[in-house]
Symmetry: D2
Subunit: 88 residues, 4 copies
Amino acid sequence: MDDALRQDYVKRINYVEGHLKGVRKMIEEDKYCVDVLRQTLAIRKAIQKLEALMLEGHLKECVLAGVREGREDQVVSELIELYRLAER
Amino acid sequence: MDDALRQDYVKRINYVEGHLKGVRKMIEEDKYCVDVLRQTLAIRKAIQKLEALMLEGHLKECVLAGVREGREDQVVSELIELYRLAER
Amino acid sequence: MDDALRQDYVKRINYVEGHLKGVRKMIEEDKYCVDVLRQTLAIRKAIQKLEALMLEGHLKECVLAGVREGREDQVVSELIELYRLAER
Amino acid sequence: MDDALRQDYVKRINYVEGHLKGVRKMIEEDKYCVDVLRQTLAIRKAIQKLEALMLEGHLKECVLAGVREGREDQVVSELIELYRLAER
């Protein structure tokens, strides 16, 4: 993983963490549940966006490298596993 | 929202926050992207579980109260909005 | 369910059925799997759109009627069940 | 795509088509919307299952062939496109 990419990922995690602290505060202050749910849904979208970026990097680097190095079975079964986890 | 419920929600948020810190560490230490993705997918599931619980509470309390108090239009349009946000 | 609504739902089902026949033809003619997947994903979106419309109708009619008639427990538990089925 | 696989896919499409005809009948006969939604959700799951099988075949055959033939950019960008379509 190159440095710029890693820094972008960490920045996104930090953003989600801040967002999550906001949600905890809302719950502690007994805010309206619909407002809390809007925020948790936005957090899930932000994580999904991070996953899309990581998957893209994974396909472009690790998967191609894996195929070239004869580890097709491993990279293919990992992709299928991730797909199944995501769809559940 | 009753106290026991609120404490359960906060506990779940704390758990997700800890999990997220673990993911950041994995990214900083350049762990294999497939392993990172497995963790972010688990985090999303945990948030989804929290949302299911909050939605259940919302339906049982706020929605029923809303209908009885003549705020049907508001509670129905909020539920439709949440559904759309979740399905996107 | 009013007549206009029912006709709209049937039209949407007919559209999905036609789309599905097209997908079967693509598979029988051994078309490129990525092209087939693009079509099945579009079919799922069309069904999801139909579900959103049906849910909206359900909330506006049956759920409100149910609450007024004292069947809160039934309508709430049905909504929770649908949410769980959809999220799986 | 080998013959056994293609036949399995067609059988799954036929099953979904039959299921869909059942849903149309339910709508025409004005069945309870919750029961209709249970069926459309099951149809979407069946299509999703078919997609998982097609994706698996695609990864094992076309993607590996594509990488070996120097079409990495094409196969990777197609996978990213499918992921985005599925997550929307």
